[in-house]
């Protein structure tokens, strides 16, 4: 768990590994390959953690990079985002979503997960994930439209 930011997160993950090992113990036939099996569980939990951390980090960077000061007029993504302010609007829109919709958007776009993977992670049917994502995207669009309308009006 060396990739964790602090000790408490590493402890939480270790606890999760143990809990999952305990819950899934029945599926391990005769106890053979226990070490490799446990390692696989730990690895999967680690991958989930890193994905989540990377997604959150990317979302943070979205805000930070969109606010870079433009020292000159060179064409560069960060400055481009600032000049258009679209990134900030989208971020605001995402922040304004209900928690379950925001969670799906974060997993889909910032952790690059497939709908099936999101369904597995959230424990919801794929159809529910789809409808939450659809509703979230509609809200994002409406939020941006109303923001633009307020600005121009």
């Amino acid at each position: 768990m060396g990739f964790c930011k602090d000790r408490s997160e590493a402890e939480d993950l270790s606890q999760e590994v143990l809990a999952r090992v305990f819950r899934s113990m029945k599926s391990l036939e005769g106890g053979r390959g226990f070490v490799a099996w446990t390692r696989t569980i730990a690895r999967n939990i680690g991958i989930d953690y890193c994905r989540k951390a990377a997604g959150g980090k990317q979302f943070e960077h979205w805000h930070q990079d969109a606010r870079l000061d433009p020292p000159d007029v060179r064409y560069e993504p960060g400055r481009l985002l600032e000049s258009e302010s679209l990134a900030q609007e989208v971020r605001q829109a995402i922040d304004s979503l209900p928690p379950e919709q925001k969670d799906v958007v974060m997993k889909r776009y910032f952790e690059n997960r497939k709908l099936e993977q999101i369904a597995e992670a959230t424990g919801c049917p794929v159809g529910t994930v789809k409808s939450r994502l659809h509703a979230a995207l509609r809200r994002i669009r409406e939020f941006d439209e109303s923001l633009s309308a307020r600005r121009s009006g």
């Binding site: 990377a54 990317q58 960077h61 979205w62 990079d65 969109a66 060179r74 064409y75 560069e76 993504p77 960060g78 481009l80 985002l81 258009e84 679209l86 990134a87 989208v90 958007v105 776009y109 910032f110 690059n112 497939k114 709908l115 099936e116 789809k130 994502l133 659809h134 995207l137 509609r138 994002i140 669009r141 409406e142 941006d144 633009s148």
Partner: protein
């Protein structure tokens, strides 16, 4: 190029960027990004939000994070457009995997 293809390519690029280390160069992705936004804008010439996405300099000077933001932004804007217009169901794209 169909929206579904644009979204697929943007999603795959995001996955590749996700696996890259922060110091790895991603300057070649500028051309890809420009081509994708040009294609999306051609499909929806009147959409104000797609119009706000401007092409970037090639080779791109942005960092991995900045490139990720651009591609993610394109995905969200295009997916949101489809969700609002309800064309994701007709084209079998948008929020599909």
């Amino acid at each position: 190029m169909k929206d579904s293809v644009i979204l697929k390519m943007a999603e795959e690029t995001c996955s590749i960027l996700d696996q890259m280390m922060f110091h790895e160069p991603c300057d070649q992705l500028g051309a890809s990004y420009n081509a994708l936004i040009a294609a999306a804008q051609a499909n929806h010439p009147d959409d104000a939000f797609l119009k706000a996405l401007k092409p970037i300099q090639e080779p791109a000077e942005g960092s991995k994070n900045q490139m990720q933001i651009l591609f993610t932004q394109l995905r969200i804007v295009l997916d949101a457009l489809q969700a609002t217009d309800g064309i994701d169901d007709r084209q079998g794209n948008g929020t599909s995997t």
